[in-house]
């Protein structure tokens, strides 16, 4: 902030949106996160409504946006084609719409994502020591944001989902051969889906609520080398890297969907190393 020398001010600090004496590019990080998250929301919403091209024939690849496929028309579906309760007259069915709420809710209530979107989308605050657009403030003390206290319950569901994606990753090592038999192999899709699970596990198991659950809630970890202390230390290691895993796993999930979609639409063959038994 620059003032003409001698200007008498009503106190040392200005108020209001963007008011700050910071001269660095404080707006760059929130802008970057805004673009990244908005881009992800737009792409994932589009992908979720497609209801097609989420799996690749001849492989066991399935897009992580569509797994678990409870009802659906692909060979990955658990039950029938469409859920009996789905209002088909109003909304075309897509398996992703049924399940995407869980991972979305997990990230929405994640302590790290909260920081990011409160800053980038809600300017509360945009950056440290930068003025805000609103005077009134409820924080997470009142509805609706007080609901984010339920993060741990979404975590329990997210752990189950991560296990299911791990199962998908294992399945992606199995391919159908031209003669209709099966073979074990590794394709680019296998690598992508396996890495996807690894990154999601890094993200999910570094969760603050998980850290609390495995030991943080205790005042004493018990004897040195106790299970509680080892678990808490391990989760703490991941927790310190939570922002990294949060963002990289988000990008990777989208990249996995893109890869499966491109293979499915184009009919290209994945580059495979097949081991026949």
């Amino acid at each position: 902030m620059s003032y003409a020398p001698g200007t008498v001010l009503p106190g040392p600090h200005a108020k209001g949106l963007g008011a700050t004496a910071r001269s660095d590019a404080w707006w760059a990080a929130p802008l970057g996160f805004f673009l990244l998250l908005a881009g992800f929301v737009v792409y994932s919403t589009w992908a979720a409504f497609q209801g097609a091209h989420y799996w690749v024939p001849g492989t066991n690849y399935i897009s992580p946006f569509y797994s678990p496929e409870l009802w659906g028309t692909s060979p990955h579906a658990w039950f029938g084609a469409a859920p009996p309760f789905w209002p088909l007259a109003i909304l075309q069915y897509s398996p992703a719409l049924l399940i995407l709420g869980i991972p979305a809710g997990f990230r929405l209530t994640c302590y790290y994502y909260r920081k990011v979107y409160y800053r980038a989308f809600w300017a509360d605050p945009t950056a440290c020591a930068v003025g805000e657009p609103r005077n009134d403030y409820w924080g997470e003390n009142f509805l609706p944001l007080i609901l984010w206290n339920a993060h741990r319950f979404v975590l329990y569901l997210a752990i189950i989902f991560t296990c299911i994606l791990g199962y998908d990753a294992l399945k992606s090592f199995i391919f159908t051969t031209k003669d209709g038999g099966h073979a074990i192999g590794i394709g680019i899709g296998t690598v992508i889906l396996t890495l996807n699970t690894v990154l999601l596990m890094g993200y999910t198991l570094g969760c603050h609520s998980f850290r609390h659950l495995v030991g943080g809630r205790c005042d004493s970890f018990g004897a040195k080398g106790s299970t509680t202390h080892s678990l808490w230390s391990g989760v703490t290691w991941l927790n310190e890297r939570h922002p990294f895993f949060a963002m990289i796993s988000l990008c990777w999930v989208a990249a996995s969907d893109v890869y499966v979609r491109v293979l499915s639409i184009s009919g290209w063959h994945d580059h495979l190393i097949l081991f026949r038994f």
Partner: protein, 259 residues
């Protein structure tokens, strides 16, 4: 390699402009001063030079000049920092803006009135030992203490309080305790030998729910305490145990409460 400079760098000086708040909470001006900067100087040195040469009535609070007393907190180029720990060479070229902390009433120039913090501190229930042994000692495991040790590094500079938007922007001083005191409460709540329960205070009087974990306190802490990740979020999780988790409530009902 270029030949060594004939003038030792320590004696070479360079003029820099400082734009300093002169006034109190009701009115004042940002006044430019020039200081001669030599290698190794920190912002507090420059302020002292300005005091000695141009403005003997410039009010500034300091004590240790070693980043340990927490007195010299101010806002340098808009960022809450310790003046004695901000090296001149770490600042970008151009005039340097020096303001008092925003979250507390300005008394004069760079000095603010931080007594509100001491009042909050008094309301926190102190350490209550669980089991003093016959020989008078409190035994605990090193790895349990390691966790709370981090919180003991706090030098009470109140930079975290100053940058916290709940106080700085929304003036919730009457309802909210602020990050410094979540750090103190974390050091007590997670202590292996503390028998007190501060969760009700944390929720109702310290209003930890106002914190939206945007981490500015962590960004400015000169002691690099992981205020949000290691103190506030774990405390929020403990408050969830007590007030928002029906499953934990059921377990407490069946097996009894631990504290």
């Amino acid at each position: 390699m270029s030949s060594p400079s004939p003038v030792p760098t320590t004696t070479r000086s360079e003029p820099r402009t400082f734009i300093i708040w002169r006034g109190d909470k009701d009115s004042g001006t940002y006044t430019p001063y020039t200081a001669e900067i030599t290698a190794g100087m920190v912002v507090l040195d420059a302020i002292h030079q300005i005091q000695a040469v141009h403005a003997p009535d410039l009010a500034v609070r300091w004590n240790c000049k070693a980043g340990k007393c927490g007195s010299c907190a101010a806002e340098i180029n808009g960022k809450p920092r310790l003046m004695c720990m901000t090296r001149m060479e770490s600042l970008p070229p151009g005039p340097i803006h020096v303001a008092p902390m925003k979250a507390f009433p300005n008394i004069k120039d760079l000095v603010t009135d931080v007594k509100w913090n001491y009042a909050v501190n008094k309301r926190i229930k102190p350490f209550k030992p669980k089991q003093v042994e016959a020989d008078g000692s409190l035994r605990m495991q090193q790895h349990d203490i390691d966790r709370v040790q981090e919180f003991r590094k706090c030098i009470e500079c109140f930079l975290c309080q100053d940058t916290c938007h709940v106080l700085r922007e929304h003036d919730k001083h009457a309802e909210f305790a602020g990050p410094r005191f979540f750090v103190r409460m974390a050091s007590l709540e997670m202590h292996p030998q503390d028998a007190e329960d501060r969760r009700e205070f944390l929720k109702k009087e310290a209003a930890i729910g106002y914190c939206n974990i945007t981490k500015c306190c962590t960004e400015v802490c000169p002691e690099h305490i992981h205020i949000t990740d290691n103190a506030i979020i774990p405390l929020k999780e403990r408050v969830v145990d007590q007030y928002y988790d029906p499953l934990a409530a059921a377990i407490r009902f069946v097996f009894g409460s631990k504290k």
